[in-house]
Every structure is written in structure tokens, then in C-alpha cells.
Symmetry: C2
Subunit: 201 residues, 2 copies
Amino acid sequence: MNDNQRHAEKKAKIKAARDRMMAEKTDEKGLVIVHTGAGKGKSSSGFGMILRCIAHGMPCAVVQFIKGAWDTGERRLLTSHFGDLCQFHAMGEGFTWETQDRDRDIAAARAGWAKAKELIRDPAIRMVLLDEINIALRYEYLDLDEVLAFLRDEKPAMTHVVLTGRNARPDLIEAADLVTEMAAVKHPFRAGIKAQPGVEF
Amino acid sequence: MNDNQRHAEKKAKIKAARDRMMAEKTDEKGLVIVHTGAGKGKSSSGFGMILRCIAHGMPCAVVQFIKGAWDTGERRLLTSHFGDLCQFHAMGEGFTWETQDRDRDIAAARAGWAKAKELIRDPAIRMVLLDEINIALRYEYLDLDEVLAFLRDEKPAMTHVVLTGRNARPDLIEAADLVTEMAAVKHPFRAGIKAQPGVEF
């Protein structure tokens, strides 16, 4: 038996095992998805999933809880090209370290959550991305128990909700179906490289 | 001093420290970016960065090394709407466990790498996403030393190259500027939920 035959045999076994595994997974349901961790990619993979929904013709929505001064590119692009499929709502006033008014931050977070509930309740909307909501939950600008109760009791069964931001609260991780931690292995800020278009914003 | 004043003072200090930190970061350079780990979001955050480039009007390109049967949505969307800014090349034959022909997999990976070099050498292209190339490197379908030497010696200084896929080789992590590990904290496949549009594809 040559190398290529051995390889073919091994791969055939892996494929058979994988086909068996995937055949057992038959359920569909709307997922509560969390992207957390100190690394990059929490928001951008959320936007990547929104892109996938758009590609499938699935109506979707984004609520941005913490609006950075530099974070408007995706919004402009999504609304100008796909405004019929994807709603975009920027509720925050800037990164939390940019504002010095806690009351205003709380009001912005609560307005964002009110909009989020309205979007999630609409069963026509198949995915709602709550970008950086974990920051608002961490600072207790929003009540975690209320958010968890809403996701459990009022989210339509087939709707996906994606919650991003570092320091996700443990009870949210416990309640979620799919949790990914983006861990920073290496970051160029440490080497004096500034934030650059396409990468950070 | 009330709660809001204390909050404002604390936030002003954080903002000042952050402004000082960011002022020290003045360099721009093309980055070698790696997304690895067993969790979700490696490819979707790569596509999210491509979306950011498009939003900034930066020409970019995607080479997909491992073509899944179900992974065509983003490609269709990107090429139909943004084909003038983003080139898309799907070189793989399917996930590696789907094919049983090692020679064909190697030929596909090498064709992908030849296309990748051509795209990276073009200084007009600002970001090249090499999606799932880590799989081809892990199976040694591509020569790691050749890839690293090319990125070091021939990549234009301002071009970003994003390499995704689990099991990134240690020497690639060592050579990269920005590395994120997507760790799977919780995955719904384990609960019998199948891959769903918008989330997995």
C-alpha cells in the first residue's frame, strides 16, 4: 500500500465517523451566542455572521451598545448595500472610557436594550447582534437578570442572538448555547503599532 | 462628591491614560495576522476584516484553501456586491476529511499558495485573507519555511495578510504580529444541534 492509499483509507475512516456524528445532530434552534475574551475578533466575527445571514437572505439586525469614534465603516457599508435585510442601530455614546457621564451612559445602554428587545421580539428577524453589550452588563448599566429572563422567556425559538464584548458575565456564559473566548496571544499595540483601518476599524 | 462625579473623575483618569498610551503608538505597518484555536470565529472574523477593508475602499482578496460544501454564501455576496474591491479565489476541494486523495489535496493547496503569492505581491491589494491555510500547513501540503520566508522577504510593507485555521504552526505564531486564539468554551453540536445557516455557514 503506498502513501496515497494509506492516506485515502485514513481519510475514509475519518469521513465515515464524521458523517455518523453529523447525522445525529438534527435539531435546529435559535442560539444564544457569546463572543468574549481580551483578544480580537469578537465584533468582527459577529459582523461576519451578519454577513452570512445577509448571504442567505435572512433578515437581521445590529445594535451597537458602545459606539467607537472609528467604528462606522461596517455600518455605512451594511446600511447602504443591505439596508433592506439588515437594520443597524448605534445607541452608545462612545467607548465607556471616552465619556465621563455615567447617567448618560446608562440611559444610552437602556435605550439600546429597549431597541434590542423590540428587534428580538420580531420573529421575522432571524439574528440580532448586540455588539459590546457585555460592557454594559459588566458595568451594571443593564440588569443581567432581566436580560437573561428576556432571552429565556421572550426570544422566539428560531432567533439567534449574538452578545459580544470582553468580560462576559458568568451567568450569561452559563445560559448561552455557544460561547467562544477570543484570547490575545500576541498584539501589535505592544510593539508600538497603532490601530489601522481594515484591522481595528 | 456624588456617584456621577466619582464616575466622571475615574473615567477622566482612564481616558487620559489611554490617550497617552495611544499617542505612543504611531507606526503603521502591514501585519501578519493569525486566527487559530478550536473555537468559532476564525474565518468569520477574517471576513469581518475584509468587510472593514471594503468599507474603507481598500482593495483586498480572499484565497479559500479548504472549500466546504456549505461555505459559498459570503463569496457569492462579496463578489456580487464588491467584486471591484475584493477578489475571491476558492482553491480547495472540500474539507480535508471529505477527500480521500492526498495528491489532489496537495495540488489544490499549492495552486492556492501560488495564487496567494501573486495577490500578496500586488502592492495595490491591502489585505489578503488566506482562509484555512493553517490546515494545509499542518498537513505539510505547503512548506512552512517557504511561506514564512515569503511573508518576511516579499510581502509589501503595508500589506496585511490574515492566516486562519486551527492548529497554527508554532513558527508561524512566532513570526506573526497579531495572533488570536479562538477557544471553544461551549458548542451546541455537543447538545445535538446541527450546523445552521447564518451561524456556521
